[in-house]
Symmetry: C2
Subunit: 652 residues, 2 copies
């Protein structure tokens, strides 16, 4: 059956692909046609049961579950929308009851285990370096045995040896130990004739005790829990090196792609907090296992985990209700950094290991931002510096060694490919940079892993918009230039235009990759949010005469951005390129730093008292600033004096 006239749009999550369904093919065939490789053994015959996916929206318009599906999925799964990709297809008869098909009528979600190919989530970053001073330290001790003359308890004999062989401990320290570990102590102590290795946390608490000398095996794991992705770094705490890293798509995405949807889900039933909490813990435990297996390390030798994440991810991870973050005035339950027993959180590191969560700044500026501040050293800069962190939400930090202010803006996800017609995350086959020849509008481009293009990611989008401006395809207000309407790359559809980046013959998805008018609007809104947010924060810091001297670009796609083009579209201020730095996943590096240097945790608490939080969207000047910033690069060209190209570009 031909669906073409029906205009059925299917959103594919968590890879943020939006496709038009043109026939009643199975979801398996749809994904294959899109070159999204998925796990299947039988090749779509319905006999292996591996290609499970979740129909999040519109499941009532799909065919009834087949006997193959009934074999692999139980009734509850089926009711919840789980299907086999090779069996599930939209039923045209069921569509007839619909008067109009909405754009967001259909959404399918591909669970982690379904996807074959690693998504190219940015895990690397550029830290400023940190002194090695972890909270975790191991000590090998040859403990004296007890005698009738010296019948001291096991614990006290261990402490006695620790103090006598390490001069930095005072006799007056009251060392702590958990009951669980205490209970194992007698056997561990005697297993290798009173030769043991103890693991001390913060010079005070014994959190592990192992027979023999295991001082070499000393690990921690740093996690960055993003709304969409979770990254983990397994680190040797004796030398500070990352031994393995791994990332997962945050499986909570199945319950909503942004934090507001997840808060709403929790508000509808408090039990859903447990659901989302278990999901993220499961993701973290999987990353823990994968990194440990890569580095051939026993997870019981991972003694501490440090966590950054936005405020909602932070709350859900800790099992705290984020409901009030979703209501004005958007208050979290707690801001300060916390140390929690790993077992209370069911995180499978060492049995008595500790989880440190970095502090959060406000309901919408989280521990990830603290991570960016700590790893970028913005709080030590001499010059006033702007750091923007682009993720599913956008955060803006402005400061130096004297002052520090932050704000958040509802921007960023477009730059991760969301809500863009051919947008996608920075994964294999994504166009990540491009150039347009202004003479003939020919497009040259590069893709991640040099694969045939299947979509366009954030850095490619910035390039596309900047190049379309330079080639006069777009006006400064973001409209298509009607002068060019007859060019073959410019296509009119419905009442708007789109620009063909790659012809369908060159793609592996059987259709053109284009930039639509709506895509341009999405990018305009994102860049306007960042720029107007920056101006409002500066304004609220007391003086409009403050000038940004440096820019740090952080986030999951920061490393791929052409900063010249980011400036050209007006996303960041007009400062020399040599003062624009791409610092990668600065939040994740911040998490690593907290693991490597415990003093940074005190620093984080001190910063928390110093940071000025500015609620951008409620400021009265916001609407005007935002509207003006929608222009490329801005309504007021005086803000971008070096962009001489704009002198030639028409205002409208």
């Amino acid at each position: 059956m031909d669906f073409k006239n029906k205009n059925i749009i299917i959103d594919i999550e968590p890879i943020s692909r939006r496709v038009i369904l043109t026939s009643d093919k199975s979801m398996y065939d749809l994904l294959s046609d899109l070159s999204v490789p998925i796990r299947s053994i039988c090749g779509g015959l319905g006999t292996c049961g591996k290609c499970r996916l979740l129909i999040q929206k519109g499941k009532e318009f799909f065919n009834l579950p087949t006997s193959a599906e009934r074999k692999f999925l139980d009734q509850i799964d089926l009711e919840n929308g789980w299907r086999l990709a090779c069996q599930a297809r939209i039923d045209k008869n069921k569509l007839q009851s619909l008067e109009k098909i909405e754009t967001s009528q259909f959404r399918i979600f591909l669970p982690n285990e379904l996807m074959l190919e690693d998504f190219n989530i940015l895990t690397a970053g550029v830290g400023k370096g940190v002194k090695l001073l972890p909270a975790i330290k191991k000590y090998y001790l040859e403990v004296d045995t007890a005698s009738l003359e010296e019948p001291q308890a096991d614990f006290e004999r261990i402490i006695k040896k620790l103090i006598s062989t390490n001069k930095n401990f005072s006799r007056n320290i009251q060392f702590d130990i958990s009951l669980d570990l205490l209970n194992d102590l007698p056997n561990i102590l005697r297993e290798k004739k009173h030769k043991i290795t103890i693991t001390l946390w913060n010079n005070k608490t014994i959190i592990a005790c192992e027979p023999g000398n295991t001082v070499e095996d000393n690990y921690g794991i740093a996690f960055d829990i993003g709304t969409t992705t979770v990254v983990g770094y397994l680190i040797n705490l004796n030398n500070g090196k990352v031994y393995a890293l791994d990332s997962n798509l945050n499986s909570q995405t199945a319950y909503g792609e942004d934090v507001i949807t997840r808060i709403t889900f929790i508000k509808s039933d408090r039990k859903n907090l447990d659901v989302l909490n278990s999901i993220v813990i499961k993701d973290l435990n999987e990353i823990l296992l994968k990194t440990c297996s890569k580095a051939k390390i026993n997870p019981s030798r991972v003694y501490e985990a440090s966590i950054v994440g936005n405020s909602v991810m932070h709350h859900i991870f800790l099992g705290l209700d984020p409901t009030n973050i979703g209501l004005s005035p958007f208050v979290p339950v707690i801001q300060k950094g916390l140390n929690v027993a790993a077992k209370d959180l069911k995180l499978n590191i060492s049995k008595n290991g500790i989880v440190y969560t970095a502090p959060i700044i406000s309901g919408f500026v989280g521990a990830d931002t603290i991570g960016v501040i700590l790893s970028s050293n913005i709080y030590k800069e001499k010059d006033l510096t702007l750091a923007i962190d682009i993720g599913t939400n956008g955060e803006i930090i402005i400061g130096n060694r004297k002052t520090l202010a932050v704000g958040s803006c509802a921007a960023g996800s477009a730059l991760e490919g969301a809500h863009i017609s051919d947008g996608m995350r920075a994964a294999a086959g994504a166009i990540d940079s491009l150039k347009i020849d202004p003479d003939n509008l020919d497009v040259s481009f590069s893709t991640i892993k040099n694969k045939k293009p299947i979509g366009i990611c954030g850095s490619g989008l910035i390039d596309a918009v900047a190049e379309m401006l330079k080639s006069k395809i777009l006006t400064r207000s973001g409209n298509f230039n009607k002068v060019l309407v007859n060019h073959e790359r410019l296509i009119k559809s419905d009442k708007s235009f789109k620009f063909i980046i790659v012809n369908k013959d060159e793609t592996s998805i059987g259709k053109d990759i284009t930039i639509t008018q709506n895509d341009i609007r999405q990018i305009q809104m994102a860049k306007a949010a960042f720029f107007s947010g920056t101006r409002l924060i500066l304004h609220n810091m007391g003086s409009e005469s403050l000038k940004i001297k440096k820019v740090f670009l952080a986030g999951a796609f920061g490393n791929y951005i052409n900063s010249e083009n980011a400036k050209f579209i007006g996303m960041i201020p007009d400062i020399p390129n040599e003062n624009i730095f791409q610092i990668g996943n600065a939040a994740g590096i911040g998490a690593q730093y907290c693991l490597l240097n415990k003093d940074l945790r005190n620093k984080a608490e001190q910063l928390l008292n110093r940071i000025q939080y500015i609620e951008i969207a409620v400021k009265e000047e916001f609407q005007k600033e935002y509207a003006e910033a929608m222009y490329f690069p801005h309504l007021n060209l005086d803000y971008f004096p070096t962009l001489i190209e704009y002198k030639e570009i028409q205002k409208r």
Copy 2:
């Protein structure tokens, strides 16, 4: 059937009664005849199922369970020896297979719920007074609501108000809170419009948060876990007053009357540690409920519990394996004081309440001794002072403000009535004091609660022995004086003698209450252990010229002792009576003090470093000292120069 010639002896625990069974009567009738009132509705007809007891030894010689028992007890109970008192009786046919009936062939155990009458466990004591400085303090706060201008988190706004209204808190304190409580915080804060009361532990950790002003409801509970009895004191932490107290027989007694038996039980199967742990937690929770109900207090308003107990009770309470305490060199797992979350121990005080366990000194000198030291202030005395704590085990403390040494001796349980033919605990009907007329050997006596006598308790035994010495019924070596063999109160049975204290016509058990040669030996061993232990500790403190100037008598029967007689039998040194003080349940008072003054907990840790522990029984001079101390008052009369009566008493 007449059992008389069989000499069947039944030990009844936990009341430490040993009786001779003279017919095949039911256990219900046996207990009734002994005036041990037990719970039963049907009066022994087997229809109410209330009179459950446990046959601990010799169950194979009892009749098979009757149909009445099968109705009320399941198969597992029956296999474990649980019976109905009214149905269970010894079967003479089964006895025929026995060549010889051992003294300890039969033991029955009466569970708490079976016994009607409160046992008169000593709960009171004489403390030296303590400054009120509890670890727990409550604060009523009217917290500011959040606004868009000040969108601080709930926790931070609470802390801000706490600091701004209480000048003694510095801005730099990092306050703690558990995740559980944090999760409840948003709702509690909003329940009474941001008016809350928080409970702070050690000025640092928020352990409770309640809507409105609940500052008045501020309680703690102090527990003294003895081998045989458990006592709890419910205390108002705002004024330091005991609002209610209650005691239970330690239900662990069903698994062995002394600590060694319980260690053996645990050694046989590690799971038994959980069994004994659950039992003592259940006892404590019962006492908690009973005291709270007496004082009309909600247990959720009890924020802290403090615990003293001997080392084995301490370990079992914490769920720590005491096995190594039972093996030379008798090492505990840990000595220092601990703070543990009440929920980890399943103690049903406030959800996030804290349990403090006082430190233990060695495998056989426990937290109860720390309690005695703290409450008696022996560590502040100018003069060298001896404190002896008489319980199921005996502890000896010698010291003053400069020096402190402790030891333990396997003595004391005889003074609680154990292993004494007509011995019993200090309960209603126990002879607690007596006098013998030296002319005609007539005995005058008093009983607890003035009931008809059913046995003799510790203080009565000391009196009996002292009076028998003064009346020349006994020689200094503890033998019966053969000169008196024809006196009507002196009876020869088997090859030894016994002295009739009360004729059977005057008792309520239908038989004479007597003191046997074996009873004298038990008392001799106990007093010799205390006296020789005292001498050995003094010796090991460095100088034999040290002289005891003061004596503190502590323990569950301390208040009833005639100290003149305790000196007369040679249990304590020969010092003037005005320097002998009875300080009651000093261990329990120590537990109360720890609850009332947190500085005493640091004091306890300091003392732990200062106290010299002396392992009495392994000292080479022990055997000789012990043998010499077996004499009344001692082989060497020079130690007791004021006891001029002995000049007339023959040495043998």
